[in-house]
Amino acid sequence: MLNDFFILMKFELLPAVIFFVLLFIKVGTAELSNASIIRLANILLFINLVAGFFYNKDGGMFGDMFHTNALIVLQKSILNLGIFIVSLQAEAWLRTHKHVIEFYLLLLSSLMGMFFMISGANLLMFYLGLELATIPLAALANFDLEKRKSSEAAMKLIMSSAFSSGLLLFGISLMYGTTGTLGFAQLPALLNGSNLQVFAFVLLFAGFAFKISVVPFHLWTADVYEGAPVPVTSFLSVVSKGAFIFVFASVLYTVFKPLADTWYHMLFLLSVLTMVIGNLFALRQQNIKRMLAFSSIAQMGFILIGISGSSQAGTASAVYFVLVYVFTNLAAFGVVALVSAQTGKEDITDYKGFHATNPVLAWVLAIALFSLAGVPPTAGFFGKFFLIMAGAAKQNYWLITIAALNMIVSLYYYLNLVKALFMDANASPVPKITFGVYAKLAIVICIAGMVLSGLASVVYEYIYNLSTGF
């Protein structure tokens, strides 16, 4: 029994252990240098990532409030990988920061929250995980304490996410009122599609839509991404989004299956809106973080298409896309983080002639942008390919056509940036960026991931076989 407890909850326990190790270092008297704390934290996170691959088991605990299976283990490992890369990339910024340990503490508690949320099989557990994942994020967004934009971003994040969890809770309370249960296993049988339930469901759906920044619940995204420190932005855009997408897909497919008609049309409308608005706003952005923010909104629209397919391929393609997105977006943000940490430049025009001074970083960014745009043979193409194939199962050719059109529009602004990197002349380009072993390692992981997860089709097959059907 105790053995089961350790194996099933390994993913949650490990961050907790690391959390306490770091906390004791903090409260202890020994003064460690930033460099050694970062080294220690990265080693621990790496152990955390590797340990995730061994001794896994399916099962439930706490009276079925908590459950885990092979797909959930994979999803958690993807998030572990994401947080490891984020932590590697954060080194350039944390090196001189006053509060290194706190950064890791907040990061780890957020990660733990996500794990509980993914494993939650009960609305209460789910809600607790969600809050544990969200509240530290607001504190992280404010991590550059002396910067005006950073506090503004954090304020916007906490206010709007408090509001969205209010909505979510109200939805949950009505759901409870109409069914009398909070368990995921019992809920589907009790859903009958009454008006009150649909209202509750819309509120829940809006809570989710807020978290994965689907238009029209996206307004906070660009501001927060711009204001937050870059590593936090990349964490927000990749790891936190990924976790919510995992939960969103599984909740829709299992708990709200009886309301499939309702949410299918909702997904249809919102995915079109999200792609179109995300892309059109991205076209006009001058700040590279804002542009990436809007582009990530547009990517969410594609994920909704995959999820709307309501099939095994729907789950698989969404999970696969998140994996690809971890590598791709972190590669892009990694370069932006390096440039921002060393020069403070964040405008697209600053990147003109980037290739002349920083050929390696320019190529990394270019490959990431091509992958975001979905140009084969990068992984991003396969990610979009599977999402669209999953959506096409519903024979919804209009949706597919709109998606394909959006791929072209998005190509335009990605290519503009590539053009700036390689082809535009600049009198004062970004100076040569020096980057240490952490950043190098992060870049290697991202590039290898982008190439391999696209070309090695076993990755998708593996995910597909783990996914449950609709």
């Binding site: 049309h265 024979q395 290519l415």
Partner: protein
């Protein structure tokens, strides 16, 4: 023998990796040897494959399952058959000649850029081979995108020049518009048949697909071909793409990549034959492109622009052939066109080289004396493209005309008109460049010289091929044998022109061609083999010289409105629209004056209000779901 098929794309890939990774440490000589050698090896393997296929027929070689999930399988497989080996020979053969030529042409570049150039070129050949050899539409699509990417990189090779990089971007985006069609067709096929393998698709096409499906799929595929092979309305990128180095224009934008669309349609001939509507569309678009671009080519003053529009026009001819069902003829014209157009582009490169980078033909003239090999091989190219009897171009173009005549006499006369235009602009170019008096500066005249042998040898080889390349398909009347059609017969049903009637027609065409060419020769010699030529046009000629203002039209109709829309969204919708909605509600709740100041974008309360409104809308919509379902069904 088919187990060596993977070597064909492997060699260029190795070349790309070596040249790309070690370009800083390798000398130019080594880079050149690696670049050319890998392609030569590919060519040799292709030859072996060719004889194997000739003896034993085609096969599909399965390597591994690329994608394997329950709903569909996509194997990574190569299809080695009659159609693909012909393209393999064209790509590796002409590719090798052009690589060889490049070693000399690009010699002034620094070693690092030299390496970059050859790396891109090898990568291009690799992608192109993948496109040709893939045994299903997905592999083809990957190659299809790969060549687009390499073309983008190579057009923007001289990235110091802003116009060049814009041309590169234009080419890429236009290609992507076409690719969208291709991709949609693949999705359609996959969702209907669950497979994208050629063999399975063609087997199930007549049973598994409704006629609407076939028409839609073939039209969408054709949209892909329009982008890649520069047909109306997506052709404007190709002339701009001439910004790249000249050998790149010869390889990518004349001989190989732009014929990918032809290959794809010839490959899918089973599908196209099932949809007469699409075939008509293909034929009409092809013919219209052939005529439009030929008229534009008549009054261009840039040597590469003339050749570019000529390429677009010849591609139009090929589509015309495909559209009337003469698939083998279309493919045959791809081959002969690859010979003479590559020849002319390389010749143009030689001229530009000799003129010190000058591309304006009004400043040339009389070059035949200083560059005899370039000039006479170029003349061969001109004769071939104009259809001078018994050159390669004569054979292929005559076959196209006969096939069109059998299909529709009206189209035939338009096609003849386009062929006459071809002869006219080509002779004009030839006269202006090589005959008459020199019109450039004294320095240029002093500097004129024949190119080194690495550049002239490919010219001579291509010249010979342009002359005799037609003999594999010489009409029966002239004592020939249609080897080419017979070879392709297992893949593509051939259209034959037999009997006395066809023989008479052949003689008419032969006679007509000679008469027209003589007239064209006399007229152009008088007009263009001159000592002074200003190249300024007025009236209708100016319309042609300005390319019918198509670029301006596209700018006005597509590009500017898009910019405006984005600006509108940013300035009006986000500032006033969203704010406006928010403000309206503010009034509605009767706190107008106070709220109006508060509710601005960038303010959290504003965001929250917007979310509340969205939820209200969502709920209203889904509370009454039938309404929205009906609404959606009505639109879509």
């Amino acid at each position: 023998m088919n187990n060596i098929a993977y070597l064909v794309p492997l060699f260029p890939l190795l070349g790309f990796l070596i040249n790309g990774l070690f370009r800083k440490s390798l000398s130019k000589g080594t880079i050149g040897i690696i670049g050319c050698g890998t392609i030569l090896l590919s060519f040799i393997v292709s030859l072996i494959l060719f004889f194997d296929v000739k003896a034993n027929g085609g096969v599909v070689v399965n390597y591994f399952n690329f994608i394997d999930v329950a709903s569909f399988q996509i194997p990574f497989a190569f299809q080695i058959d009659q159609l693909s080996v012909i393209f393999l020979l064209i790509i590796t053969g002409i590719g090798f000649l052009i690589h060889l030529y490049s070693t000399s042409y690009m010699h002034d570049e620094s070693s690092e850029h030299f390496g970059r150039y050859f790396a891109y070129l090898n990568l291009f050949v690799f992608s192109m081979l993948l496109l040709i050899m893939g045994a299903n539409y997905v592999i083809m699509f990957i190659g299809w995108e790969g060549v687009g990417l390499c073309s983008y990189l190579l057009i923007g090779y001289w990235f110091k020049n802003i116009n060049y990089t814009n041309a590169a971007k234009k080419a890429f985006v236009m290609n992507r518009i076409g690719d969208l069609g291709f991709l949609l067709a693949v999705f359609w096929l996959l969702s209907k048949l669950g497979t994208a393998n050629y063999v399975d698709v063609f087997e199930q096409a007549s049973t598994g697909l409704s006629s609407t499906d076939v028409t839609a799929i073939t039209l969408l595929l054709f949209v892909g071909a329009m982008g890649k092979s520069a047909q109306i309305p997506l052709y404007t990128w190709l002339p701009d793409a001439m910004a790249g180095p000249t050998p790149v224009s010869a390889l990518i934008h004349a001989a190989t990549m732009v014929t990918a669309g032809i290959y794809m349609i010839a490959r899918s001939n089973v599908l196209y034959s099932l949809s007469p509507l699409t075939q008509d569309v293909v034929a009409v678009i092809g013919l219209a492109t052939a005529i439009l671009s030929a008229t534009i080519a008549l009054f261009q003053n840039d040597i590469k622009k003339v050749l570019a529009y000529s390429t677009v026009s010849q591609l139009g001819f090929m589509f015309l052939a495909l559209g009337v069902g003469a698939y083998t003829t279309g493919v045959f014209h791809v081959m002969t066109h690859a010979f003479f157009k590559a020849l002319m582009f390389l010749g143009a490169g030689s001229v530009i080289h000799a003129m010190g980078g000058e591309q304006d033909i009004t400043k040339m003239g009389g070059l035949v004396k200083k560059l005899p090999i370039t000039a006479w091989t170029f003349v061969i190219g001109v004769l071939a493209i104009s259809g001078f009897p018994f050159t390669s171009g004569f054979v292929s173009k005559d076959e196209i005309l006969l096939a069109v005549l059998a299909h529709s006499p009206v189209l035939f006369w338009f096609a003849v008109f386009a062929a006459i235009l071809t002869a006219a602009y080509m002779f004009r170019l030839m006269m202006l460049v090589f005959f008459g008096g020199f019109r450039g500066t004294h320095e240029q005249e002093h500097h004129l010289h024949e190119s080194p042998s690495a550049m002239t040898i490919p010219l001579i080889i291509l010249g010979v091929l342009s002359l005799i390349g037609g003999f594999v398909q010489l009409p029966h009347v002239f004592g020939g044998e249609d080897f080419f059609n017979q070879f392709l017969a297992p893949i593509v049903p051939a259209v034959t022109h037999e009997g006395a009637e066809a023989a008479t027609l052949e003689y008419y065409l032969l006679g007509g061609t000679i008469v027209i060419l003589v007239i064209v020769y006399v007229v152009t010699k008088k007009l263009f083999a001159v000592d002074r030529f200003d190249g300024v046009y007025t009236g209708f000629k100016k319309v042609l010289a300005d390319k019918w203002y198509i670029d301006e039209l596209y700018n006005a109709v597509i590009v500017n409105p898009l910019d405006k829309l984005a600006g509108f969204l940013k300035n009006v919708v986000e500032k006033s629209g969203i704010d406006g909605i928010v403000n309206g509600v503010g009034k509605f709740v009767n706190y107008a004056s106070r709220q109006l100041r508060l509710l601005q974008s960038g303010q959290v309360g504003n965001y929250i209000l917007f979310m509340v409104l969205s939820i209200a809308v969502l709920f209203l919509v889904f509370w009454n779901q039938e309404i929205i379902v009906q609404f959606l069904q009505k639109i879509f």
